[in-house]
């Protein structure tokens, strides 16, 4: 792991390169272009940038309309507003109409920090995951932002990409493989596997180090695409390790943990533990303090790992 960078910073730059390469790319923002970094695109392509003002519902409608003329609109605002404030617009106009809109939301998760609970989106993955036609991607680092965005633009249909505010450690590389719907194994191990998404990938790698020093070998899998979930990798890993942990900067209700539990409960019963925000709102504080208080650090993963390993020892895995 070397260097840290926020996924939104990477987004701003990738957007400009995409703008140069593909004249069909247009960007719509709702008065937060400096924070989402779409202002870089706006400066370079003013005629292809639309600021709707503080109007997220209109943001999604305008993006849908742009897509219907053959353009590829990328709609950006904070995750809490993109998915919550404009949920009906995303559902009825974009997802139901299968519009070719890419929603790239920044400020996902609790590490938004000092702005507090009103701005900390810990339910966006759940809200987007439930929509037919919608794909849900959470890049783990700056490299993955570029790959995710390019992949999203290459396919037709709505995609939700969740980015964060604070710098995150680099955990992938420029040339590592990225495919929507294919999870990446970052570390091998057969005692248990940690399925992580977004900033929790780096926490999981740290946790795996700690566990290794205590004699437990855990696999770490980067589940950048939450929908469609990589069923094959999840099931194969479940069968091989017999114990899984999910780690996400999101409510344990409806996110990656739920997606994995839905799959395991019908296909393969193994010991499962979920690390995430426990059905509660956040509060103001520094990202680090919040991660600690709300239980989403490497330490929390280690603790959960021990719990799950215990279950694995006493229970019995049943796989079809």
């Amino acid at each position: 792991m070397e260097g840290t960078r926020s996924t939104r910073d990477a987004y701003g730059e990738v957007l400009v390169s995409l703008g140069v390469e593909n004249p069909k790319i247009v960007v719509v923002d709702a008065d937060v272009s400096k924070a989402t970094r779409t202002s870089l695109f706006a400066r370079q392509f003013p005629e292809r940038f639309f600021n709707v003002g503080v109007a997220e519902q209109n943001l999604m409608g305008v993006a849908a309309g742009l897509s219907l003329t053959g353009l590829i609109p990328i709609a950006s605002t904070f995750a809490v507003f993109a998915t919550g404030r404009a949920f009906d617009q995303v559902r009825n106009t974009i997802a139901y109409g299968n519009c070719n809109v890419k929603i790239v939301a920044t400020h996902g998760g609790i590490t938004v920090g000092e702005d507090g609970a009103s701005h900390q989106s810990i339910e966006d993955i759940a809200l987007m995951r439930v929509l037919p036609n919608m794909k849900v991607i959470v890049p783990a680092d700056a490299f993955e932002v570029e790959k995710a965005l390019r992949a999203a633009v290459r396919i037709y249909g709505p995609v939700y990409i969740r980015l964060g505010r604070v710098p995150v450690p680099t955990v992938t590389s420029k040339c590592s493989h990225f495919e929507i719907g294919r999870a990446n194994v970052l570390r091998d191990g057969s005692d248990l596997a940690i399925l992580a998404t977004g900033i929790m990938v780096s926490e999981s790698l740290k946790a795996a180090e700690i566990l290794s020093s205590e004699g437990v070998e855990s696999a770490v899998i980067n589940v950048h695409t939450i929908k469609p979930l990589d069923r094959e990798t999840v099931l194969e890993t479940a069968k091989r390790c017999g114990a899984l942990i999910t780690a996400e900067e999101h409510s344990i209700v409806g996110g990656l943990g739920s997606a994995v539990a839905e799959l395991l409960s019908t296909e393969c019963w193994v010991a499962l533990g979920m690390v995430g925000v426990k059905d509660t709102f956040g509060e103001s504080g520094s990202p680090k303090e919040l991660m600690k208080k709300y239980g989403i650090t490497a330490g929390d993963i280690v603790e959960k790992a021990k719990e799950v390993l215990n279950k694995k020892k006493t229970g019995r895995a049943v796989c079809r």
Binding site: V26, E47, R48, F50, V52, G53, A55, Q57, N58, M60, G61, V62, A63, A64, G65, L66, S67, L68, T69, G70, L71, P73, D88, Q89, R91, N92, T93, Y96, G97, N98
Partner: protein
């Protein structure tokens, strides 16, 4: 304006009204009231104003029409069928399982439907996006969106109204079907929207008030709107809910309820004019369908 053209549009509007009533009665549900109030507007759009090609619904150069008041879907389906997007017989499948004609418009199912609507207040935003996109692509296609007056309660309509004037979308024409009723009653009682003209003006729109049942006025209004180059244009069309059938006019009971069979017969007789299906065939089909329910 040639008299023949006005006559043709009037005939089409009558046919549309009849088809709306027939298909909602056959379906056993739907929203005839607001569909009838917009029949003259929709007929003028599809049989005169809009550049479109039923043989190629995705023709690049077409004008776009968005029915923001999606519950009036039957009026759109009737117009599309009469234009040839699909067979009028298909109208009898409205709201049935496996039908392409959903209770509210679905762009992925129905040829000629541009945007999925039904959740009110969203059509103007989408129209804005289409208008901005077309302008960016140097297209001279125009975008028309039909709004209900009740749906103007939705805040998103006014977000979109701001956007349209801020970006001077002169290829965008909004039409308000101002029939004065929303689901729970009169606008002035449920949620007062007046002064409507001043509201649109203050949002930077050019406004024109017309009688939404006078084809000549609709035609002239659309001409003015398409020639106006300085920004978005809204036509506020004063209409009568249930227009064309005496016992439906200004009767809000039929906002979301179809006629029964005997009411339908009376309504069809009152509307007169050419009917698309021969009366006997129609009644046979109707009886057959009703016995299926």
């Amino acid at each position: 304006m040639a008299k023949e053209l006005l006559k043709l549009i009037r005939e089409k509007a009558t046919q549309i009204r009849k088809l709306v009533l027939v298909m909602t009665t056959v379906a056993g549900s739907g929203h005839p009231g607001g569909a009838l109030s917009s029949a003259d507007i929709v007929a003028t759009l599809y049989f005169w104003f809009l550049r479109h090609n039923p043989d190629d619904p995705n023709w690049m150069k077409r004008d776009r029409f968005i029915l923001s008041k999606g519950h009036s879907a039957p009026v759109l389906y009737a117009a599309l069928a009469l234009c040839g997007y699909f067979s009028p017989n298909e109208l009898l499948t409205l709201r049935r399982i496996d039908s392409r004609l959903q209770g509210h418009p679905s762009s992925i199912k129905t040829p000629g439907v541009e945007v999925s609507t039904g959740s009110l207040g969203q059509g103007l935003s989408v129209a804005c996006g289409i208008a901005a996109g077309l302008r960016l692509c140097n297209s001279d296609s125009r975008v028309c969106v039909l709004l209900g007056d009740g749906e103007l309660d939705e805040g998103q309509v006014w977000e979109a109204a701001l956007f349209a004037s801020h970006y001077s979308l002169s290829n965008l024409i909004a039409i308000v079907d101002f029939n004065g009723f929303q689901v729970d009653g009169k606008l002035c009682e449920v949620m007062n929207i007046s002064p409507l003209v001043l509201k649109w003006k203050s949002f930077g729109w050019k406004v024109l008030e017309i009688d939404g049942h006078n084809i000549g006025q609709i035609v002239r209004g659309l001409k003015k709107a398409s020639m106006y180059r300085r920004g978005p244009f809204v036509i506020i069309a004063k209409t009568v809910k249930g227009k064309g059938v005496s016992f439906l006019e200004n009767n809000n009971d039929y906002h979301g309820k179809p006629l029964n069979e005997s009411q339908l017969k009376a309504a069809l007789i009152e509307l007169g004019g050419e009917i698309y299906w021969k009366e006997r065939d129609l009644l046979e089909m109707l009886t057959e369908r009703c016995s299926l329910v």
